[in-house]
């Protein structure tokens, strides 16, 4: 990557559209309100702003990399196309029957999420592929013709095709698509064997439905965006960030828009991974806390953890199972309803609960004075001294401590007989504990022990809570990078072109067939390569293959990374050894006497990540001086301490700020707990390290 390139990252979020422009080693950013009816308006506005700051014009832009929550929002708000599903006879209701379970055991009035495509729009064909890909009942073209006629008459904009076992044999799905397109060449058709060729019909069908549902919308948006950019003089290539943390072409994105879901948060994880690479950190935890949710991602060896399935549009307190599953390669994240706007209340046990309900930006926390009556996390933060009421969001919003105090007192303090400060502390502790618990469970699920991890915190509310979260998780080091407010957009500029192709092909190791394995992986690599080559025709490519494996009889596959030597080998021994090592790392032991099976394979092809200049961490060579102090509540000592107030911009590399302190910047404040010391680094990151003693142990006894 050369320094004369002008690279622009654009992230459309629910509230803000963030634009970052990098040129000649400098970065310029803009944050503008998202314009939901015509999202391209905000982008053009934001690009205009950063161009002006950089004294450049639109024609100077070399490349734009874009990520967006539009697809996610369309799924959440059910604003997609008029879509039909064509499926196998006998399986019309797969996406409605879900897992046949209730995600909340004790709620008699539970409401399950409605299927994306209602029963009236789900059509069936008398055909059937078997578990080994054999045809059990062949497809009758005349029946498809008749259905195509119906589809045409009913005026659908988009069609999803999901047939049983199509990941083993896509022939029937392809035939159906051929007949539909022969009759209606303009019809948008998505088939499950292309969108998500993975076993498990509910997940695969739902994924192809989601793709079909958002496809017309996303295509029209992306077409408009390109034409508007051309109009403003930006004729550069535009690429899209996908949920797996890589970049794909606009054409691929239009064909598989479901891959764009969660692209914003993926950018955040890439941003954190880049910081981790800069500091040579092998075990990092990214912590992104905004107004409504907190997102946590494990980053090992500077690569975010990935998964093959996730859930969007959770309808019930972010609870697992209450959303819709999407089976695509994705950066794995835990998202919980904990943000600055999360509201506190008292439950029937006289306990403080926080979130997932959020005050959002309208009316916002009580302290915004925009009509919010109930206490939010931001109100608690204000009362605990963590925020400066006169200098919030660059001074654009004046915060009222009185409003916070009365909201906290009225809704929490009075009911529990707690004074204002203790009630605020209670709210803050509960939200921090919620995030800590979600993080711990996620770490356990991934077989990780957090004690050696470094946290990388970004997002508006994260620097206020990251220190406490580190204390709770036993994490010793915390990095707070600059530009944390536009982290995702910066992350887009750090991503490589990449694509991961995945397919379920079932194989037991006792019947290992090296030829078949090499074929599958070769095909997957070629498929992924084609996506990457459509963006970049020259760079050398890197390949990573994985097998998803388990003992026969288990239900959870674990991802096992394979080297070329493993799958080129003529027998199963290498791949078996890889599995056993991975299994032992996760669960502490292996099981003797059982056969091992592979359920799916994947190949990820990417261009090299640009080399990251390593930073030599500097240690403290002098102490920051500050005459300004303000009282900040210490959750361990459980009292207010006089804390130094330091401007971030006034700190040079090597300057240390000992806790308790608050480092202020225009977007947010960084709280340095009493148990930590912050040292400014050459790249503008603040590195917080835990001081030797651990006062927590004494404090709560």
């Amino acid at each position: 990557m050369n320094d004369t390139a002008v690279r622009v990252g654009v992230d459309i979020g629910g509230t803000f559209t963030d634009v970052v422009l990098e040129y000649g080693g400098e970065a310029f950013s803009a944050k503008v309100l998202t314009t939901p009816t015509a999202p391209e308006d905000a982008i053009l506005d934001g690009i205009g702003q950063v161009l002006a700051k950089a004294s450049l014009s639109a024609k100077d832009i070399s490349v734009i990399i874009h990520g967006t929550t539009l697809a996610t929002n369309a799924l959440i708000e059910r604003r997609g196309a008029n879509t039909a599903l064509i499926t196998t006879q006998g399986f019309r209701d797969v996406i409605e029957m879900r897992s046949e379970s209730r995600f909340e055991q004790y709620d008699l009035n539970l409401v399950l999420p409605k299927p994306l495509i209602s029963r009236a729009h789900r059509h069936t064909l008398a055909e059937r592929i078997g578990a080994n890909g054999q045809v059990l009942k062949s497809l009758d073209p005349a029946e498809v013709e008749a259905l195509a006629e119906q589809i045409e008459q009913r005026g659908y904009d988009s069609v999803a095709v999901g047939l049983i076992h199509s990941y083993m044999n896509p022939r029937h799905e392809e035939l159906v698509r051929g007949i539909l397109l022969a009759r209606m060449p303009e019809l948008s058709v998505s088939i499950s064997s292309e969108v998500s060729p993975q076993m498990r019909e509910f997940e695969r069908f739902n994924t192809v439905c989601a793709n079909a549902y958002v496809k017309p919308l996303m295509k029209s948006y992306l077409d408009r965006l390109v034409s508007r950019l051309n109009d403003m003089g930006a004729n550069c290539p535009v690429f899209m960030m996908h949920s797996g943390g890589g970049i794909i072409s606009l054409e691929s994105a239009s064909e598989f828009p479901v891959r764009l879901v969660e692209s914003g948060p993926a950018g955040g994880a890439i941003f954190a991974a880049h910081i981790a690479a800069r500091y040579g950190i092998d075990a990092a935890l990214s912590f992104d806390m905004g107004g409504t949710t907190a997102k946590i991602c494990l980053i090992k060896d500077q690569t975010p953890k990935t998964s093959t399935t996730f859930e969007v549009a959770r309808t019930y307190r972010f609870k697992k199972g209450s959303g819709m599953p999407i089976s695509i390669p994705v950066i794995e994240m835990v998202e919980i309803g904990a943000g600055g706007g999360s509201l506190a209340h008292i439950d029937s046990l006289q306990q403080i609960r926080v979130g997932p309900e959020s005050a959002g930006s309208q009316p916002g926390p009580a302290c915004y004075q925009q009509g919010g009556e109930r206490p939010a996390v931001t109100d608690a933060d204000l009362l605990l001294g963590r925020l400066d009421p006169d200098n919030f969001a660059g001074g654009s919003i004046k915060l009222s401590s009185e409003r916070s105090a009365s909201a906290v007192e009225q809704h929490v303090g009075t009911a529990l007989g707690l004074d204002q400060t203790t009630a605020a502390f209670g709210i803050s502790e509960v939200v921090d504990e919620n995030m800590a618990n979600a993080t711990r469970v996620h770490a356990v699920e991934n077989g990780e022990d957090l004690s050696g991890f470094t946290m990388i915190a970004f997002g508006g509310a994260a620097p206020l809570h990251a220190g406490r979260l580190c204390e709770k998780l036993g994490i010793e080091r915390l990095l707070v990078p600059p530009g944390a407010g536009v982290g995702s957009a910066i992350g887009f500029l750090r991503a490589a072109f990449s694509f991961e192709a995945t397919r379920s092909t079932y194989m037991r190791l006792s019947a290992y067939d090296p030829g078949a394995v090499q074929n599958v992986l070769k095909e997957l690599a070629q498929e992924a390569e084609a996506f990457v080559r459509s963006c970049d025709t020259t760079s050398p490519l890197t390949y990573e293959c994985k097998a998803y494996m388990r003992f026969v009889g288990q239900g959870w596959e674990i991802p096992v990374v394979l080297s070329e030597a493993d799958y080129e080998a003529s027998d199963r021994s290498a791949i078996m050894a890889r599995f056993e090592t991975a299994y032992r790392a996760l669960f502490g032991r292996t099981v003797e006497g059982l056969d091992i099976e592979v359920t799916s394979w994947s190949a990820r092809v990417s261009t090299p990540v640009p080399p990251v200049a390593q930073i030599e961490t500097v240690s403290a060579d002098n102490e920051a001086v500050s005459d300004v102090k303000r009282p900040i509540y210490d959750p361990i000592g459980q009292k207010f301490d006089e804390a130094a107030v330091v401007e971030r911009t006034a700190l040079n590399a090597g300057v240390a700020v000992a806790g308790p302190a608050v480092i202020v910047e225009s977007e947010t404040s960084i709280i340095v707990p009493a148990s930590f010391e912050a040292v400014m680094q050459p790249d503008g990151c603040l590195l917080l390290g835990r001081l030797e003693s651990n006062p927590q142990t004494e404090a709560l006894s």
Binding site: G90, E201, I352, D419, V591, L594
Partner: protein, 547 residues
């Protein structure tokens, strides 16, 4: 520290403890072999104080294990003997009367020591793949036929696993590797819980759990009793007829609601029978407690104090208090009706809060597939044991339609049919909603489903039936119609039994029609929009009858 911040700390620790047992449960799910644990959540995990009182339980899990496991730890402490409890020990049982109601559930308890002192226990329960005997099914006449019973004993003594026990298990069960694997999974998940507890005690500077237990129990007791006290006091009764093995069974309950709690007395219930659908009292308690808790105190976490106000009694020897050596293998098929039974009684005191009856009992099916035995037919070469979980419709709620094809009261999931077909030589030709099966009403009952299964060419299968609501459909409430009854047939109409092992020859299809849930309120009051929606989507056939 002032009392205010102490209260905040206690609350934080309570949340932490629930997270600790959730981690324990997740560790079990990720490593278990048993289909019902890993795919279907048929497990339980919890932490107990030194006296054996449950302090917290994982949210993940199914209600059948809730109260049952809560009582188990007391049995373990008594039988092992307090002076024989050492660091590194792990205890085990699958005694249906001291564990969770049938031999397939293995319960393991591990004492938790902190700085050399006993501070509590971790317990976990999982449904294992096999326990020997006849296998999972209703046909046993005594518990001896149902498999190996492991009395309360040490699985590990000071960290050393009891090899003799492992040998006995290995030689008495099918799929020995998987079963032994699951024993280790249970022990490991308790260990996971213990490690997290140690971290927590380090962090908060605790020496023991007594003050925290007091805090949890005190808050839970007060909150639960406040909710109970707000109910109308008095008694109410209900009875229900279910299919049973070969003749129908009467279930009866009388609830006595006072300020101190709710007593459910199952006097009047039919006697136990010589088939494996009998229910030990622990399991009756579990589901009675679950039904009452859903109705009265759904948001209070499970622990000894929040469960204590719900008490149960049943005549010794009735089908809801079956005693050794009664067979109990598929006790769920009877036990799953208990919430319907108690909620039906409660409805008489608490109108407009409780749902109509639903399909309730899961339609689990255990399939043993093998090569075709007909000498003239084509012959395949595959053999497999396959377990499927399937659910009918739940009852309509006052204000909401019932849930279609969704488990209630059980908390289990179904499995993808694509995964099931990889397990063995069967084809599932149909698994979809059953139109017209939801009970009519102002609020419609949930729909059941239709399932069609055959062996792949060259194969045949036996299946173990454990189905109900074929002779006795789910009843509607307040004028709502009954849900459709279930049926078990071959595709040519041959009627099969609802319980027990039966044969499906090569080339034939088994057709299961699962029952729907009952409706709530008169169908004449159903709004036009909902009627239209039901018709458009084919949830009902043609025009719904007006009453």
């Amino acid at each position: 520290m002032n009392s205010g911040t102490q209260s905040v700390s206690n609350q934080v620790m309570w949340n932490r403890l629930i997270s600790v047992v959730e981690e324990q449960a997740q560790a079990l799910i990720r490593t278990a072999f048993s289909t019902s644990v890993r795919e279907a959540g048929d497990l339980s995990a919890g932490v107990f104080d030194v006296a054996g009182a449950m302090m917290a339980q994982a949210v993940t899990g199914t209600p059948g294990h809730v109260n049952a496991m809560a009582e188990a730890v007391g049995h373990f402490i008594r039988e092992i003997g307090e002076d024989q409890i050492f660091e590194g020990d792990v205890y085990i049982t699958n005694d249906p009367w001291k564990g969770t109601g049938h031999l397939h559930d293995i319960t393991m308890v591990s004492p938790s020591f902190y700085r050399g002192k006993l501070v509590g226990y971790f317990a976990s329960t999982a449904h294992v793949v096999d326990v020997g005997g006849r296998g999972f099914g209703a046909d046993g006449r005594e518990v001896y036929e149902e498999g190996l019973l492991i009395p309360i004993m040490k699985f590990a003594l000071r960290g050393e696993v009891n090899r003799d026990l492992i040998k006995i298990v290995r030689n008495n069960v099918r799929e020995a590797d998987q079963v032994v694997g699951d024993l280790y999974s249970l022990a490991t998940c308790n260990e996971t819980g213990h490690k997290r507890l140690v971290d927590m005690m380090d962090e908060f500077g605790l020496d023991n759990l007594e003050a925290l237990a007091d805090f949890i129990f005190d808050h839970s007791r007060r909150a639960t009793l406040a909710l109970v006290a707000a109910l109308p006091q008095g008694t109410c009764e209900n009875e229900m007829t279910v299919d049973g093995y070969d003749e129908s069974i009467r279930l009866a309950v009388k609830l006595d609601i006072s300020e101190t709690g709710i007593l459910a007395d199952f006097d009047g219930t039919s006697p136990a029978i010589a088939r494996g659908i009998n229910v030990p009292l622990v399991y009756t308690k579990a589901y009675a407690g679950y039904g009452l808790k859903c109705a009265v105190a759904p948001e209070i976490p499970n622990n000894a104090a929040s469960l204590a106000p719900f008490t149960v009694k049943a005549p010794v020897g009735c089908i809801l208090n079956a005693v050794h050596p009664a067979p109990v293998s598929v006790r769920h098929v009877t036990g799953h009706f208990i919430p319907d039974l108690v909620m039906g009684a409660l409805h008489k005191l608490l109108p407009d809060r409780l749902p109509a009856e639903g399909a309730s009992a899961l339609w689990n099916i255990h399939i043993s597939a093998r090569p075709n035995s007909d000498p003239d037919g084509p012959k395949g070469d595959q053999k497999a044991e396959i377990l499927m979980f399937n659910s009918g419709g739940s009852g309509a709620r006052p204000g909401l339609d019932g849930l279609s094809a969704t488990a209630f009261p059980s908390g289990v999931h179904t499995m993808p049919i694509e995964a099931t077909e990889h397990v063995g030589p069967i084809v599932i030709w149909r698994k979809e909603l059953r139109p017209g099966s939801g009970g009519a009403g102002k609020y419609r009952g949930g729909l059941g489903q239709v399932i069609e299964i055959s062996a792949t060419p060259g194969h045949e299968f036996d299946f173990s039936a454990m189905f109900d609501r074929v002779a006795n459909p789910a009843r509607g409430r307040e004028g709502g119609g009954n849900g459709a009854a279930g049926s078990v047939k071959l595709e040519d109409g041959t009627v099969l039994k609802t319980k027990g092992r039966q044969f499906v020859p090569a080339g034939r299809k088994l057709v299961l029609e699962l029952p729907g849930g009952g409706g709530y309120g008169a169908v004449s009051e159903r709004d036009a929009k909902s009627r239209q929606y039901d018709l458009e989507n084919g949830y009902v056939f043609g025009a719904q009858p007006e009453e």
